[in-house]
Every structure is written in structure tokens, then in C-alpha cells.
């Protein structure tokens, strides 16, 4: 069974569109995260939720809105997509300090 899953795996869309990426974890973890990996492979945290509550928001543009309907899911909605949003987005979850990552969603904005 996949521990942390994301859909879709690939997402190609045009500038100005709105899109969502979904993340689910079946590990029973309380904390979930979104990371962005840019073209140079640099990984930076965007958001973290603990039991459906936002605990980390790393000065991400407000076009990005995470939503956690329950502690097993953390979705990422992006409004008015820009070229600079092209990246790989990773979801992760943790119970203590060790984080488990999903397979990533490669977003390409044209």
C-alpha cells in the first residue's frame, strides 16, 4: 500500500488557470506538509498542517491555498497560475520528526 499518495502525477496547464493537487496518507500521521522543488532541485517547505490546523505558512503567495478536510488529506489549490509556479510539488507526512514523502506532482505552466 502506498503510504503517501498524490494526484495527479503530472499537470500541464496554461497561465491564469486554477488547479488542485491532492494528497492522502494512510500512515495515521497527525502532520502533513507541502514542499516545492524548483528546477534546480531546491526543496522548500510551503505549508504544514497538524490535525487539520495550519501550523506553518512560509510566506507563500496567497494564490496558494491548502485545505485539510481531515488529518489524512492535505490538498493544494493554486489560483491564477503563473510560469514561476512550474515545479515539482511534494506532499509529506510525519508523526514525530521523520517525514515520509509522496511521489510528487510535476506542474508545468505554459
Amino acid at each position: 500500500d502506498t503510504a503517501v499518495s498524490q494526484t495527479p502525477k503530472y499537470l500541464v496547464t496554461q497561465m491564469g488557470n486554477d488547479k488542485s493537487i491532492k494528497c492522502e496518507q494512510n500512515l495515521g500521521h497527525d502532520t502533513m506538509y507541502w514542499y516545492k522543488q524548483d528546477s534546480k532541485k531546491f526543496l522548500k517547505i510551503m505549508f504544514s498542517y497538524n490535525n487539520k490546523e495550519l501550523i506553518i505558512n512560509e510566506t507563500v503567495p496567497n494564490r496558494f491555498s491548502p485545505k485539510s478536510p481531515d488529518k489524512a488529506h492535505l490538498n493544494l489549490h493554486i489560483n491564477s497560475l503563473e510560469l514561476g509556479d512550474s515545479a515539482v510539488y511534494f506532499c509529506a507526512s510525519s508523526q514525530v520528526a521523520e517525514q515520509y514523502f509522496g511521489p510528487g506532482t510535476r506542474l508545468t505552466v505554459t
Binding site: 502532520t31 506538509y33 534546480k40 532541485k41 531546491f42 526543496l43 522548500k44 517547505i45 504544514s48 501550523i55 506553518i56 511534494f90 509529506a92 510525519s94 514525530v96 520528526a97 521523520e98 517525514q99 515520509y100 514523502f101 509522496g102 511521489p103 510528487g104
Partner: protein, 114 residues
């Protein structure tokens, strides 16, 4: 703010060579330290971690790392690399307990030549 430095951006080695990848962090308090590996086209996987205790930690696939507090370092080592070790390696630090934010280094691309 916490920062993590990986000075080796791209390392190229022949099979059976020994490997050491550097990692330094800036935070002076208690930290948890991690090495993650990202094989081409795949997600990040945990190689090893240090929370406390023996500063020499062993991970999967023959990797180990040594925490040297006085040098703020957590270097990754492997005595004999294989072609399948070709990947991107990330050092990460978590500085606050209860706030599990991971700060990543910029990564080191490792290429093993058969």
C-alpha cells in the same frame, strides 16, 4: 534563520570509490538531522537520521553519517559506491520539537560511473 549548506553540488565517482558528502547547518541549539535520497524521477526516501545518542549513525544501503556538534556538520559516507547510488542527496535539519519544519540543503548530485 536556520540554513543548511551542501558544498558539493555535483560529485562524480567511479564504482567502488569511497564517498563523503558534506553537510553543515547554522543552528546552535538541539537539532534532528537527516539525509534523504532522490533517485531519478522518484520521491525522497530517508537514508538515515540522527536524533540523539551515538553520533555515528548507520542507514540503509550501506550509508552512514557522523554528527560532529562542534563543527555543525553531518557528513554522509559510504565506503564503496555502486552505480545504483546515482541520485540526488539532500541533507535536512529540524530545529524545533513540535514544529517539524525541515530545512533542506541545496542537494548534491552524485553520478557513479560504471
Amino acid at each position: 534563520a536556520q540554513s543548511v549548506s551542501q558544498h558539493n553540488h555535483h560529485v562524480i565517482l567511479s564504482e567502488a570509490a569511497s564517498l563523503e558528502l558534506g553537510c553543515n547547518y547554522s543552528y546552535g541549539g538541539t537539532v534532528n538531522l537527516f539525509w534523504y535520497v532522490q533517485y531519478p524521477g522518484q520521491h525522497l526516501q530517508l537514508l538515515l537520521k540522527y536524533f540523539s545518542g551515538d553520533p555515528l549513525v548507520k542507514g540503509i544501503k550501506g550509508f552512514e553519517a557522523e554528527f560532529i556538534k562542534s563543527k555543525f556538520s553531518f557528513n554522509l559516507r559510504k565506503p564503496s559506491v555502486q552505480w545504483s547510488d546515482t541520485a540526488e542527496y539532500f541533507c535536512a535539519v529540524n530545529e524545533n520539537f513540535g514544529n517539524e519544519k525541515l530545512t533542506f540543503g541545496t542537494g548534491t548530485r552524485l553520478t557513479i560511473i560504471p
